[in-house]
């Protein structure tokens, strides 16, 4: 499932280890590791993993509300 790839990238980039990340669990504001530097790092990791380009004006806090929201954002970039 693609959302699992996004979950892996989040866990990998934030160093969360095996921490369980539910699809609808709150991310931004709830996961302390997710500061602005980490958000930038996640965006970069998503770009590299999925071969997409994410412009600054596409980055919005709402995309980081939950894992499901982030996955939806990635899928929107992948669908032509």
């Amino acid at each position: 499932m693609p959302i699992d790839q996004v979950r892996t990238i989040l866990r990998d980039t934030l160093g969360l280890g095996k921490l369980r990340l539910a699809d609808d669990a709150p991310l931004l504001g709830a996961v302390p590791e997710l500061d602005s530097m980490a958000v930038a790092g996640v965006i970069t990791a998503l770009e590299e993993r999925f071969g997409i380009a994410i412009a600054d004006d596409e980055i919005s806090a709402r995309h980081f509300a939950t894992l499901a929201a982030l996955d939806a954002f990635v899928q929107s970039k992948l669908t032509p």
Binding site: L28, S36, M37, G41, I43, T44, R49, I59
Partner: protein, 261 residues
């Protein structure tokens, strides 16, 4: 973990354009077979700070293995002269020459360029001019434009999350990048170079053990061009990207193994 003493490291300043460069020389361990010398080229902007510990650990490990290691703070960086806004890529190239010349004046033997992140791209570009005997590349930046975009992105996400005072337009996290420096970095791509010396490429792999597609493509292109390439995939933290000065023991181990006699 073997503890390597830093007692032998020699700090000094080299005169250079705009003033001087802060250098730290790790002499090869007395009694070790002399293996040659290594110039360390540090990463861009804040990554210099997040990577200090890993660079120090590896420099000491190299010294213990018989290599002389010269760390140099580039113009405008670290403890060298100048503000970051004064930094120019061509001057950084001259700083590389300065460091290599200093080493070659002191001992015969191979001189390798060891670069981390953007320092790795600097090493790739400089390798031919400096007649580098080998390239040791840690988590190399392949594309300068992408690297700069990722750096500028941190300023944007900080504003988005209102982490603190907003940066000025040309400044990110306290780093002002001169337009000339930005243009020079954006023009660089590792794919434009064909190193004639052996290249050891160390890069963090994902949970699936794979490198990012762009890295895999680049390495394939270099192999097709007969670059003497040794790829080392490393599991561990992206230590350059976080402020907690984490270690990456796997990278130290992989480097030790690659450089074993």
């Amino acid at each position: 973990m073997t503890t390597v003493s830093a007692a032998g490291a020699q700090p000094f300043f080299l005169p250079a354009h705009g003033g001087q460069r802060y250098c730290l020389y790790h002499p090869p361990r007395a009694g070790a077979a002399a293996r040659g010398a290594i110039v360390y080229l540090h990463p861009f902007a804040e990554e210099l700070n997040t990577t200090r510990r890993m660079a120090a650990l590896q420099a000491r490990a190299f010294a213990a293995a018989g290599y002389g290691v010269l760390q140099i703070d580039l113009h405008g960086c670290g403890d060298s002269s100048g503000d970051f806004a004064d930094a120019r890529w061509l001057q950084w190239r001259r700083d590389v020459t300065l460091a290599c010349d200093w080493l070659r004046a002191r001992a015969a033997g191979p001189v390798s360029l060891w670069g981390l992140r953007l320092g790795a791209l600097l090493a790739v570009e400089a390798a031919a001019d400096e007649a580098a005997d080998a390239l040791l590349l840690w988590q190399p930046v392949i594309n300068g434009r992408q690297h700069l975009r990722q750096f500028l992105r941190t300023g944007h996400t900080a504003r988005m999350l209102s982490d603190g005072a907003p940066d000025a337009d040309d400044e990110v996290a306290g780093y002002r990048i001169a337009p000339e420096l930005a243009r020079a970095i954006e023009a660089l791509d590792a794919g434009d170079f064909r190193p004639g010396c052996p290249v050891h490429w160390f890069e963090r792999s994902g949970e699936d053990g794979e490198l990012p597609p762009a890295s895999a493509r680049h390495l394939a292109a270099w192999r097709a061009a007969s670059v003497a390439l040794h790829e080392h995939r490393v599991r561990g933290s992206a230590f350059w990207a976080s402020a907690d000065n984490a270690d990456c023991p796997a990278l130290l181990a992989a480097t030790a193994a690659a450089c074993a006699p």
